[in-house]
């Protein structure tokens, strides 16, 4: 990998060295269930995310990615180890859209704005802007059950952005989207990330997507989840998902992922 680090990454590294990462995960273990029949899900995860960094998490189904995101969001407690998010409670976009069925699409976003302290007169316009951003202009008044699967995911993404936190956690945000819509949103999220200097921790199953978006790709192993390997992605932005650079790296990572999965037998 070429050492063509961008300036922003330099700054990030400095920040990391200065001891103030945006997310610091140290020696985190997590298991579910009672002592005897516990499932050990995460095992000694240590990971720092620098402010303004875009990290994607890859791993087999069931390896513990969502669990890790929940821990970082403060929704669950690690069995041992510590997690620090100095910038305050992160925004989280759940794997299952988690939109409130008693509110319309627009009102779901407005609720996030409201709890984020946005004054009432601005909320409506801001909500419509965010809907426009996820290509759902005109769906403001739709109920959750009137949206298609992909539309729900996009509303959830808009709501996560509305939370306005500097750390953004996203759990497979584009899984239910067609390639074209996804491409558009890739561009948008990269733009927002750069413009607002967000720190993003992004879970995906799509290796190309991971490479397309991230500054760093982290591969988790399964049972228990450990950090198996990391890649610094030094390809220049804006990248294209079809580009050869992305494809080459994706093949390398996929091979590694395949190896990880094979090592743990059938799961």
């Amino acid at each position: 990998m070429s050492p063509a680090l961008t300036t922003s990454e330099d700054a990030l590294d400095d920040g990391a060295l200065a001891g103030s990462p945006a997310v610091r995960i140290s020696h985190v273990h997590k298991s579910f269930g009672r002592a005897g029949a516990a499932t050990h899900v995460l095992d000694d995860i240590t990971l720092d995310v620098a402010p303004g960094e875009f990290v994607t998490l890859l791993g087999a189904s069931g390896c513990g990615k969502s669990t890790l995101l929940n821990l970082v969001a403060g929704l669950d407690k690690p069995s041992s180890g510590t997690i620090e998010v100095p910038g305050g409670r992160p925004s989280l976009m759940f794997q299952e859209h988690a939109l409130f069925p008693w509110l319309t699409a627009g009102k779901n976003i407005e609720l996030a704005l409201r709890l984020n302290g946005v004054p009432r007169p601005e909320r409506r316009a801001e909500a419509e802007r965010l809907l426009e951003l996820v290509r759902l202009g005109g769906s403001y008044g739709k109920r959750v059950h009137e949206l298609s699967g992909g539309m729900r995911q996009r509303v959830a993404m808009a709501r996560a952005l509305a939370q306005g936190s500097s750390v953004l956690l996203m759990d497979e945000p584009f899984a239910a989207l067609d390639a074209i819509t996804r491409d558009v949103l890739h561009d948008e999220i990269t733009r927002i990330w750069a413009a607002q200097k967000l720190t993003v921790l992004f879970v995906t199953h799509n290796v190309r997507e991971a490479v397309r978006l991230a500054q760093r790709v982290v591969l988790l192993s399964s049972r228990p989840g450990r950090v198996a390997r990391e890649w610094q992605i030094d390809l220049p932005q804006p990248r294209r998902i079809e580009s050869a650079g992305v494809a080459d790296l994706s093949i390398e990572i996929t091979e590694e992922l395949r190896g990880e999965i094979r090592r743990h037998g059938k799961h």
């Binding site: 929940n70 929704l75 759940f94 409130f100 069925p101 008693w102 509110l103 609720l111 709890l115 959750v144």
Partner: protein
């Protein structure tokens, strides 16, 4: 199967014979939803209750005509009707109904105002739940009549006694309804609320209460039933000009004078009030809540 049982006829043909009764019912249910004309609305909404009413009246009159029992035990619909006419002409009908309804509704609203915060606390704060939860359940199963002596001794015979009895009957019910509503809110919504930064009152207002609304509404309906029943019990204790003549008292008076058609009229009036509150107050709210959440896809 309102929302799911609208298979094209090709599928319908595969329903096994053993379930043909159910299929028949299903077919009855599968009402066209788009652009229903008024006649259709009347047919599906007004007809069934009307038929039910006529059926009951016919059975009643039939039992009377067959002289299954003496007329003082089972008066005819006509006799009850003339009791009603008497009450109408005496000019007391509305005041009787209104006295009770007003008191019941006021007591119920107070019970909601008190029961809701209690329910929130019990549902969300664990020590309160272990301490207060069973007490609520116990209170709920304590008959209102049991409270009446205590309430009378402490408060005297007046409206505050009535309200105390109503509250003791309805508050636990409202609170319990909210608790079980909150227990059923999917944890995903609670977590989503948390990541949005909803804590304390904001959490209650924006996540817990709307999330628990369907279950809470069910609790409110039961709470209304308890209010109304407790009120009837309280009205029995004493009659005084200050308290006015309510439905419970009216029923009791008819009972004392062994006027069976009056008793039946009282029962019917109480029934009608209960039904009216359900139809005019709870049913529309419930329908709206369910529809907004996509829990109700056809119109009822």
């Amino acid at each position: 199967m309102a929302s799911t049982d609208t298979a094209p006829s090709v599928h319908e043909a595969q329903v096994p014979d053993s379930a043909s009764v159910e299929a028949g019912l299903d077919a009855l249910e599968a009402v066209q939803t788009q652009g229903t004309p008024l006649s259709e609305v009347l047919r599906t909404k007004a007809l069934p209750p009307l038929i039910a009413l006529l059926l009951v009246l016919a059975l009643w009159q039939g039992a009377f005509a067959l002289e299954l029992t003496s007329s003082y035990k089972l008066p005819s619909p006509g006799m009850v009707w003339s009791s009603l006419v008497d009450l109408w002409q005496a000019g007391t009908l509305f005041s009787i109904v209104w006295t009770s309804v007003w008191r019941g509704v006021a007591g119920f609203l107070a019970a909601v105002a008190i029961g809701t915060p209690i329910g929130l606390l019990v549902a969300r704060v664990k020590p309160v739940r272990t301490a207060v939860g069973p007490i609520l359940a116990g209170l709920q199963s304590l008959p209102s009549v049991a409270w009446v002596p205590a309430a009378v001794i402490w408060l005297g015979i007046n409206n505050s006694m009535m309200y105390a009895v109503i509250l003791l009957g309805a508050v636990p019910s409202v609170a319990n309804g909210l608790v079980s509503g909150i227990d059923q809110v999917p944890p995903l919504f609670l977590r989503a609320g948390r990541t949005l930064g909803a804590t304390g009152l904001a959490n209650a207002r924006h996540i817990l209460l709307p999330g628990a609304l369907p279950g809470y509404l069910a609790g409110l309906k039961q709470g209304w039933a308890f209010s109304w029943r407790s009120l009837m019990a309280a009205e029995l204790v004493a009659a005084s000009p200050d308290l006015g003549l309510g439905l419970g008292r009216y029923l009791e008076n008819q009972r004392e004078s062994a006027d069976m058609s009056g008793v039946l009229l009282g029962i019917i009036l109480i029934l009608i009030v209960g039904m009216a509150i359900d139809l005019l107050l709870f049913a529309p709210i419930e329908r709206r809540v369910l529809r907004n959440r996509g829990l109700l896809t056809t119109n009822r």
